[in-house]
Amino acid sequence: MYWDKAKECMSREDLEQLQLERLQSTLYRVATHVPFYRKKFKESGINPDGFSALDEMRSLPFTTKDDLRDNYPYGLFAVPLRDVVRVHASSGTTGMATVVGYTKNDIKNWADMVARILTATGVGADDVVQIAFGYGLFTGGFGLHYGAERIGASVIPISSGNTKRQIQILQDFKTTTLVCTPSYALLLADTMMEMDININALSLKYGLFGGEPWSEEMRTEIKNKLGIIATDNYGLSEVMGPGVAGECRECNGLHINEDHFIVEVIDPQSLEPVAPGELGELVFTTITKEAFPVIRYRTRDLARLLAEPCSCGRTLRRMSRVIGRTDDMLIIKGVNVYPMQIESILFDIEGTEPHYQIIVEREGRMDKVTVLVEVVESIFFDQMKKQRQLMEHIKKRLATELGIGVDVKLVEEKTLERFEGKAVRVVDRRRL
């Protein structure tokens, strides 16, 4: 089943022609409308008019998350704000969000890309899609929402959280398709088992899971427990949001929407392309986006490209699932968290020492974060009340700025391990 067969099954030659055309005009537009790119092209001696082959991609400068942050909030927009119909944002390393915008056409293309992914899983107009991704600045909820509407499915925009209600609706609304993070799908399954709900009596057929890395073992577990077809999808707000790539029913790699994005895989150290099929950092260039085009955006996500054609008939190349990160970003309950964010909050709070450790565990199905903080000695000699106040204060600050709840434990000075080289601030005990 295809959503847009003409594009999804294009010949390589036609696709490359289309990519070249779109890339040439994208380069022209960013050089004309975005001072950041104009300057960057000038510095690296690039003539955006002189670009004549996809191979020349390599000479273009990279764009990083820092560039996005430096141009906060609207600096990288290629259209005036009055042409922007939607703004989303995601967390950044120092708590400053990166802001992305969409024109009417961007939203339309985005919905189309998500529609392809839903269709590839088998979801159609008769399906009832429960979207348990957060709605709001995060792109997950709205991204899937518009795609599901595009294919004519009935959308339940329940958003994330409130497990009991999710289960109630899953049963009563006869949901056929579940959209959430894979860990949340397992939490739902386990909770239903605890509640003695007959999962086989549900109408659930499909699950589209993304927002965090997951393994083949986890897929098997989800399939067994929920009795559904479970596919992986990939996206990031800086590039578009969900819908950049998604699996077909073969469940063997994610088809990248290459008519909208040019993908490269590079060695994060040398910045050179890796050999075909090797693991490396994904780099995306958008070639249809109007409001927020990015040139060679370094995702920090590690994956490989799969060269063999897929038996589903789609010619869009596939990427493996994301295997890891090149930086220390943590994905906790689908939310991106940088240790640096936590550090800068702790620095801000009086009474704490600049020594801390972040412990990430998986308790049952859900991620749990505990922050150990060294505090000045005097506090430990003081009354308990003061200690508790400090703890609550830290907790509250972290929760508001990170967007997820974390546990805080105060420890005495000099009890946390000291590191001579690179400090290991994060202990990730999750086994994905």
Binding site: D14, S25, D49
Partner: protein
């Protein structure tokens, strides 16, 4: 059908087209919109072989046609309807059409009457005016004659240069209806227009040409809602599809 990569062309030292890449698929109506002097006609003339390309690639049905003579390009299946019609004013309508079939005539199978019947089906008015001198036709009729003449060569791809120029709005509408009819009959059309709204209204896809560069492309309906296109080529009336327009 047609595939162009990094095409450059110009007049003398003046470089007009700067690395144009574009394509037209079989059965499509593709339009190129842009202001006066953007290079639209230069692009068509370069494809037709009338202007020599400086660099780049042009493929028609998979075969390179760059630096091929214009008459060979017509024989290869690509016909041009020039701007301002340029019919042979002192010849009759019928004679004009027969001349259009010249490349067919050289092939033995050419049966002018059958071809003419096909043209008259599309443009009944030309049959009524069959023996009239082309110069005495109205502007709209001349445009139809020019299109009919191009069709006599049985092209795979028909290129139209500003078919709406100098025609009354009602006639323009008529001409555009005929373009849709041509496509329905299996023709592929590359349409160049200053009347961006009308062109995008019937096209499948469009390219926006500005000072010799393609600055935007996409499905015609996307270009119609693109704010840059609206501001530059469509005037204000289409913003927000009839909703309140900005007053600034």
């Amino acid at each position: 059908m047609l595939r162009i990569k990094n095409l450059e062309a110009g007049y003398g030292k003046l470089r007009v087209l700067k690395r144009i890449s574009m394509h037209v698929d079989s059965g499509e109506i593709v339009t190129i919109i842009g202001a006066n002097g953007a290079g639209k006609t230069t692009l068509l003339y370069t494809i037709a072989g009338i202007i020599k390309a400086g660099a780049g690639e042009i493929q028609l049905l998979g075969a390179p046609i760059i630096r091929t003579k214009p008459e060979k390009i017509v024989a290869a299946g690509c016909s041009l309807v020039p701007e301002g019609r340029q019919v042979f004013a002192t010849l009759s309508v019928r004679e004009n059409l027969i001349l259009g079939g010249y490349v067919q005539y050289k092939r033995k199978k050419f049966q002018p009457d059958q071809e003419l019947r096909f043209i008259y089906d599309i443009f009944p008015v030309l049959q009524d005016r069959e023996s009239q001198l082309a110069g005495t036709l109205s502007g709209g009729e001349q445009q139809m004659l020019a299109m009919g003449r191009a069709l006599m060569a049985k092209p795979q791809l028909i290129m139209l240069d500003e078919p709406s120029t100098g025609l009354a709005p009602l006639i323009v509408k008529n001409i555009f209806q005929i373009i849709l009819k041509l496509r329905a009959a299996g023709n592929t059309v590359l349409l160049i227009e200053q009347n961006a709204k009308a062109a995008l209204g019937i096209a499948d896809r469009g390219y926006v040409l500005e000072t010799g560069k393609i600055i935007l492309q996409g499905p015609a309906e996307d270009l119609l809602v693109n704010k840059d296109v609206q501001r530059a080529y469509l005037g204000r009336e289409v913003c927000n599809e009839g909703a309140r327009c900005d007053l600034d």
